[in-house]
Symmetry: D2
Subunit: 140 residues, 4 copies
């Protein structure tokens, strides 16, 4: 993680909007990574018929978190409006996943912990969007 963050800082100047808050973005990258990992494990440990929905939502959240993380790690391809909609999609998915996981929190420690990590990612996406709003020039 540290090395990727050092690499990212070397590219801060290339970001399409100067003033992009690097600390927030690094926090969001770490939240994506944590969420992908927790969701992957959670999806693999669900048991019983009623868990199918939770497994599938966790896999969706893991994939979306990974895509979001990669988008933030490609400074030269950063495009503010796409970034905003991707953050919105990630937040929506991780909130929905957290909600579903919480329904199994009593019986599954995985699900409870996975819900936490999803909520952290949703909060981090919200912070990113707040910081980007107003700052980014509008491009189609």
């Amino acid at each position: 993680m540290n090395m990727a963050m050092q690499m990212m800082e070397m590219h801060a100047a290339e970001m399409p909007a100067t003033g992009m808050d690097m600390a927030l973005m690094q926090e969001c990258i770490e939240a994506c990574s944590a969420c992908e990992q927790a969701c992957t494990m959670c999806a693999s440990s669900m048991m019983g018929d009623e868990m199918m929905k939770c497994t599938s939502m966790c896999m969706n959240s893991a994939d979306m978190a990974n895509t979001m993380m990669r988008m933030m790690m490609r400074p030269s391809g950063m495009h503010a409006p796409s970034m905003m909609t991707a953050l919105q999609a990630t937040m929506s998915m991780s909130n929905a996943c957290a909600e579903e996981c919480m329904m199994h929190a009593e019986t599954s420690d995985d699900a409870r912990m996975c819900a936490d990590v999803n909520r952290q990612l949703a909060a981090s996406c919200q912070k990113m969007m707040d910081a980007m709003a107003g700052m980014m020039p509008t491009r189609a």
Copy 2:
């Protein structure tokens, strides 16, 4: 592809909103798959300094298309509001990627073809969203 589509049809009844247009969704899945493939190739064939942006945007679009495709292939985890934001994010990313690719269309056949495939995905996402709007029950 055919077999996955057959599998999908067996699960049509589980979809959270009855009346989900399976033909549209299958078209969108194929558009995602085509876009991931074209973008992966395009990102790997860009040359010259000014192409870095195009490479990165293609990789973003490939990842987003793959995530979107997988979300549509998990009927048991389908959650309408997350699906809508993900379709929006995919459309936004593939439109941005198409626009960037078109800037290199004169000199790169890859870029021109990749732009076409991205535009097809964006159009397919729009159709999905139009079909879903009004049909899906609103959940947080």
Copy 3:
């Protein structure tokens, strides 16, 4: 699919080993894509406690198939020895997944169809490896 294949043919000359059988590689790419899709669906439709293993193996096979597909779609980065080990890993994973899916074939049409698609991918990887063996220069 067609467009990516057209793009691939434009890059045939860049392949590290001249004589790479394009038809075989395209068949393998399609097998990867079909396998990722079938496994993603199958993993999302498993029910009951004993299905956890099948779900997890399907997700592994889906991820491996996607990685393998992408490796074949990046002509400029093709490195024969890595390709060979990746084909070996993909074949090993899809065979293991097919074997696990077959245990549920009586009760699940998804699992039976998913097993078929996995076996097709394994066979396609074997053909690729046979074609590459002897043809590729050995590098560490």
Copy 4:
């Protein structure tokens, strides 16, 4: 990361081979994650015509590292022989990527750092394979 590791420890008993070294596996998961991140950034910052190969190899390594990481995070789907071939493929890919990145280390800090992270992943995979050899029951 910490939470996923806690989750993993709760599932240690489900691992197919008791005695699986959890510390080694966690180290390998972190190495995969670091490698995916560094490679994603490196692939997005390469400049000039001769960098195309490096970009493509970095993307291959990022995808393989992600797949390997996910395979380790699905305890219920762990299948020793597939795991071994996947570790071999990951090691082969990250070594090849490190070698290519080192050719650009003089002029690119990204490439130099990315090479380091790839080498760390290759070493971690080797350690995993050493620990697994002899320990795992052989299955087809």
